[in-house]
Amino acid sequence: MRIGAADRGPMTIGQKLWQVNWSLVSFIIVLTGIGCAMLYSAGDANWNPWAKRQLIRFGIGLFLMIMVAVTDIRMWMRHAYTLYFLVLGLLVAVEVMGVIGMGAQRWIDLGVIQLQPSEIMKITLVLALARFFHGASLEDIGRPMFLIIPLLLVAAPVVLVLRQPDLGTAIMLTMTAGVIFFLAGVRAWKFGVVIGAILAAMPVAWTLLHEYQKKRILTFLNPESDPLGAGYHIMQSKIALGSGGIFGKGYLGGTQSHLNFLPEKQTDFIFTMLAEEFGMAGGLLLLGIYAIVLIYGFAIALRVHNQFGRLITLGITGTFFFYVFINIAMVMGLVPVVGVPLPLVSYGGTAMLSLMIGFGFILCSYVHRDVRVGRHGSGGED
C-alpha cells in the first residue's frame, strides 16, 4: 500500500492549510488583480462601480475557496449527488418562476446576493460526473448502456439552461462533461457518434433557437452585414483590438473603451479593453498567465491518486479553459457572441464565486492527493 499522509491518520486543519498550493493561489490573485485594474479603467479611473465590488467578492470567494480546499474530499464525494440535485432543483425553480409570470430569468434573488444556478451547475455537474466515473472500471465504461445515467446527468441541466435561454452556459456544460467523459476513458468513436448526432440535429436545433440567438450567429458569420445592430459589437471590438497594436494605447487611454464605442466593456468585452490599452503584449501576457494556471491544473491532476480528485481537477480546469477560450475567441470574432465572461477578470458575482469554489475543489484534490477514496466516499477499501 502507498505510504501517504492519510496513512498517518487524518490531517489537521493546519496541515491541510500547509498543503494548499499557494503558488496557484498567487496566480489566481494576479489574475484578479489584473481584472480589478481593468475594471478601475472601465469605471473611468474610478473604483466604483465595478472594481471595488469585484474586490469584495473576490475576498468572499477566497474564503470559500480555502473552505472548500480544507474540507475532506470524501465528504464532497459523498454529497456530490445531493449537491447536484439541489442545484438542479434551483434551475427548475428559476424555470417555474419564469412560467409563473416573472419573465425569463436566470437569477434567484436571495436578498443579499443574486444566485445564478446555471453558474453553480458548472461545478456540481463536474462533481456528480466525477463521482459516477470514480467507481466505474474501464469495462463498465466500455458498455454503452452504462453511459446512459451520466448522459442524463448532463442532459437535464443542459435542457433547463437552454430554456432560459443561455446558449453559452449550455455549451460550456456540454463541453465540460465531454472532457470528463473523455478523461474517464469513454472510447473515441463514441464521441464521433455523439458529434455526428449533434451535427445531424443542428437544423432542428436552429428552429428552436430564439430570434436573437439566430441573429447573433448570422452576424458572427458576417459582422459587416449589420454594422449598427448586433454586428456593431463585434466590429467595434475588432477595431479596439486592432487599433491597440503591439503595445497598446496606454492604461486608461483606450479611446474605443472610454468613449463607449465598446459595449459591455466591464463584462464580456473586458479582454478587448485590455488588449486596446496594453496591445498584443498585454493580451499575450494575460494569455500566458492563464496558461500557467491551466498547467497547474494538469500537474495537480497527474499527482492526485484518486480518480474522483483527478476528474474534478481536470473537469474544472477544462471549464476554466473553455471560459478563457470562448471569451477571447468571441471578442476577436472567431466564434459567435454567446455571453461567456473572462474568468476572474470580467465583472460578475456568481461567476467569480463559482470559479473560486471550483479552484477550491482543485486545491482540495491537491491537499487530499494521497487520500484513499472508497467507492462511495468512504475512507477504507471496499
Binding site: T255, L259, N260, F261
Partner: protein, 632 residues
C-alpha cells in the same frame, strides 16, 4: 483496486496529455488571431478607431458687411439671441417649459415641436426653443436662470439690413443653401454643407458672395459613441468674409427711394459719368430682405410672387422699357455722323408725316412748324426725328445705340441684368422671318416699337454722351480685408469713336431742353448756378392710340386705367459744364416725362451734386478725411 486504478490512471494521463495538447493548440490559435488583428491589420483598425473618435466640425466665419462709399453699413450681422433647452440638465422638461412659458410666450404648436424634438434627439443635444429674442426677453430669462434648469441662451449671428425693403433690390438677401446652389459651387466649400449656413441669393449679396462669405475654420472634436463631445483636440479659426464697399451713397440712395416711393412702380439710377460708379440704384416696390433670412411662409411667398408690380424684380437692371424720346439723342447722333442732316437743316412739322397709307403723329397735334436739330430736341418734335430716322436707316441707328451701351448687358456687378433690344433689319428677318418695314424705322426714331432699354442702360447712355468715354457701370468700390482697405481698380474707359462736334450738338440740345424756356423740362431745371443739368424727357406710349380715339379725343393720362398710361422717363447729366453725374428715371405708367420723371430726377441730381465728396476739388470722387463725418 490498485491495479484497476493504475490502468485507469494510465488512460487518464494519456488522455490528459491529448487534452493539454489540444488546449495549447487553441491558445496558439488565439495568439495567432491577436497577431493578425493587432499587427497585420492594425493600421486599418487604427484608422477606423480615429474615424470613430474624431468629429470635424466646420466653423462658419462671420459674413462681411456691405458698406456705402462713406462706410455707412447697409448689411450687417446682428447678434441673434436664441433660447436652447438641454434636456439632460433638467429633471423635468415640461416643468421647465412651463416656467419659461411664463416669461416668454411659447405657443402650443411650438411647445409640441420642442417636445417632439427632445424625444427624437439625444439628451445632451440642445433644442432651439425660440430665436431672435430681444434684449428684454433675454434679460428676463437671465434673471430667472436659477428657476430654469436646462435653459441656455446662445448667441448666433444673423444678417440684417437696416434699410429693409429700401435696399432689397440693390443688396439682395441671404437664405439657406439649396441643392442647386451646392451643385453650382465648384469649390466644394464645406460651409455649404453646414446646416443653417446662408449665402447670397440676389443683388450684391449674391454677386459678391465669395468675398463676403470668408473661409471656413474647423475644429476637431473628440466624441463618444453617443456623439457627445468630450473635448476639442484642435481648432483652426476661419477667415472672416471681407467687407464690401459700394460706390453707392446712402444719402442719395435713400432720397431716390423717397422720391419714388409714392409711385406704384419705378426705377432710378445715378452714375458717375467718368468712373461708371453707381451712386444710387433704386427700384420700387421692394420686399423685406430680413423676412427671407428668417424664412417666408408659403402664403407670404405666394403673395410676393403674384403681385402684379413684381416686387422681386430689380427694375433698374431687369425692367425693359421703350426709351421714348430719350432715344432721340442716339438717332440724332447717327444722322449727324452719317451726314444725312446738317445741324441747321430744317424740317417742317405740321403734326404728322405720311408714309404710304400710314400717318405718323407728332405729340403736338397741330405741329411745331420749322424745326432745326436744337429746337427738335428742345421741344422733342417727333416729326423731325421721323424724318431723320427715315434718312439714316435703322441699322445705323442701332449701331449708334450699341456704341452708347444699348441693346446689350452693361456688365454691372448685379445678377439678372437684361440686355434690352436694339433692332436691326437683319435681326427682324432672322427673328420674325419678315423684312424690316420703313414705318418701323420711323417708330424706332422716337424710341418706340421694338426698341427696349433698361433704366441702367439709359443712365449709361447718358454717361457716355456726357463723358465721351465708354464707361461701364459698377457697384463695388473696394473691399476691407482683414482690416486693410483696398480700392478696386477700374480700367479707364476708352474714348468713344465719335466726332466731338456731333456730341457737342446733341449735348447743346439737351441743355436747351432744361435751360431754355421752350424746353420740355424747363420747369424741372436746377436754378442754382453751377449745378445746372441738361436732360431729355421721354413719354413712352404703352397702348396704341386708335384712329377713332384720335379723331374724337385723346384721353388724358389720368383718365385712362393705370395699366394703359404712358411710362414717364427722364435722363440727364450735370453739371452742364464738365459733367460729373448722369441720371435716368423711369416711372411706369407715370404719365408725361416732363411732368413726372423730370422733377424727380432734378431733385436727386441736385442732392447728388451737393453731396459730391470731392466738392469739385478732387476728380477722383473719394471722400476727404475731414468730410467723412458729413455723411447722413
Amino acid at each position: 483496486m490498485y491495479r484497476e486504478d493504475s490502468s485507469r490512471y494510465k488512460k487518464f494521463s494519456r488522455r490528459a496529455m491529448i487534452l493539454g495538447g489540444g488546449q495549447i493548440a487553441l491558445f496558439g490559435l488565439l495568439a495567432g488571431r491577436m497577431y493578425q488583428l493587432q499587427v497585420l491589420e492594425s493600421k486599418r483598425y487604427k484608422m477606423l478607431a480615429e474615424d470613430n473618435r474624431i468629429n470635424i466640425r466646420v466653423l462658419p466665419p462671420p459674413r462681411g458687411r456691405i458698406l456705402d462709399r462713406f462706410g455707412v453699413p447697409l448689411a450687417i450681422n446682428k447678434e441673434n439671441y436664441r433660447v436652447l433647452l438641454i434636456a439632460e440638465r433638467t429633471r423635468n422638461v415640461k416643468q421647465t417649459l412651463d416656467t419659461l412659458g411664463r416669461l416668454i410666450s411659447i405657443p402650443g404648436h411650438e411647445r409640441r415641436r420642442i417636445l417632439r424634438e427632445i424625444k427624437r434627439r439625444r439628451d445632451f443635444v440642445p433644442v432651439t426653443v425660440q430665436e431672435n429674442l430681444d434684449w428684454h426677453k433675454v434679460s428676463r430669462i437671465e434673471v430667472n436662470a436659477p428657476d430654469l434648469p436646462g435653459i441656455v441662451i446662445d448667441v448666433g449671428q444673423s444678417r440684417e439690413y437696416p434699410l429693409g425693403a429700401d435696399s432689397a433690390h440693390l443688396l439682395g438677401y441671404v437664405a439657406s443653401v439649396s441643392e442647386k446652389d451646392k451643385k453650382q459651387d465648384r469649390s466644394r466649400d464645406p460651409l455649404l454643407e453646414l446646416p443653417g449656413f446662408r449665402i447670397g441669393k440676389s443683388g450684391v449679396e449674391k454677386e459678391q458672395d465669395l468675398r463676403l462669405r470668408g473661409k471656413a475654420g474647423n475644429s476637431q472634436l473628440e466624441v463618444n459613441a453617443l456623439g457627445r463631445v468630450i473635448r476639442e483636440l484642435s481648432r483652426q479659426e476661419g477667415q472672416p468674409g471681407d467687407d464690401v464697399i459700394l460706390t453707392i451713397d446712402l444719402g442719395i440712395q435713400n432720397l431716390a427711394i423717397e422720391k419714388l416711393r409714392d409711385k406704384k412702380s419705378a426705377a432710378a439710377v445715378v452714375m458717375d459719368v467718368n468712373s461708371g460708379g453707381v451712386i444710387a440704384l433704386a427700384s420700387v416696390p421692394g420686399y423685406d430682405p430680413n423676412a427671407f433670412n428668417t424664412g417666408l411662409s408659403g402664403k407670404q411667398w405666394r403673395k410676393i410672387i403674384r403681385d402684379p408690380l413684381a416686387p422681386l424684380t430689380n427694375k433698374a437692371v431687369s425692367g425693359l422699357y421703350a426709351p421714348g424720346s430719350t432715344f432721340k439723342m442716339v438717332v440724332a447722333m447717327a444722322a449727324l455722323e452719317h451726314g444725312v442732316v446738317m445741324p441747321d437743316h430744317k424740317v417742317f412739322c405740321r403734326g404728322h408725316v405720311e408714309l404710304g397709307n400710314a400717318r405718323f403723329h407728332c405729340w403736338k397735334k397741330h405741329g411745331h412748324g420749322w424745326m432745326d436739330l436744337n429746337a427738335a430736341l428742345q421741344q422733342s418734335c417727333d416729326t423731325y426725328f421721323y424724318e431723320i430716322a427715315k434718312r439714316v436707316g435703322i441699322d445705323k441707328i442701332a449701331a449708334m445705340g450699341r456704341r452708347f451701351g444699348l441693346g446689350q448687358s452693361t456688365g454691372i456687378d448685379l445678377p439678372n441684368e437684361r440686355g434690352g433690344l436694339m433692332p436691326t433689319s437683319a435681326w427682324k428677318k432672322k427673328r420674325l422671318g419678315v423684312p424690316w418695314q420703313k414705318g418701323e424705322t420711323l417708330v424706332a426714331g422716337i424710341g418706340q416699337g421694338f426698341v427696349l432699354t433698361t433704366p441702367l442702360q439709359l443712365a449709361v447712355m447718358t454717361s457716355r454722351l456726357a463723358s465721351g468715354k465708354s464707361v461701364k457701370p459698377h457697384l463695388v468700390h473696394g473691399v476691407v480685408s482683414a482690416g486693410v482697405k483696398r480700392t478696386l481698380q477700374v480700367p479707364a474707359a476708352q474714348k468713344i469713336q465719335i466726332a466731338p462736334e456731333v456730341r457737342r450738338l446733341v449735348m447743346e440740345g439737351m441743355n436747351s431742353v432744361s435751360n431754355t424756356e421752350r424746353g420740355t423740362a424747363y420747369r424741372a431745371r436746377i436754378k442754382e448756378p453751377g449745378f445746372e443739368l441738361a436732360g431729355k424727357t421721354g413719354t413712352a406710349q404703352v397702348k396704341r392710340i386708335s384712329k377713332h380715339e384720335r379723331e374724337t379725343m385723346v384721353l388724358k393720362n389720368k383718365e385712362r386705367p393705370w395699366k394703359d398710361r404712358d411710362h414717364a422717363l427722364f435722363v440727364a447729366y450735370a453739371p452742364v459744364e464738365k459733367p460729373r453725374y448722369a441720371i435716368a428715371v423711369v416711372v411706369e405708367h407715370g404719365g408725361g416725362g416732363s411732368a413726372v420723371a423730370a422733377p424727380i430726377a432734378r431733385d436727386i441730381m441736385h442732392e447728388t451734386l451737393k453731396r459730391d465728396p470731392s466738392g469739385y476739388r478732387d476728380r477722383d470722387g473719394v471722400a476727404r478725411e475731414n468730410e467723412k463725418g458729413r455723411k447722413a
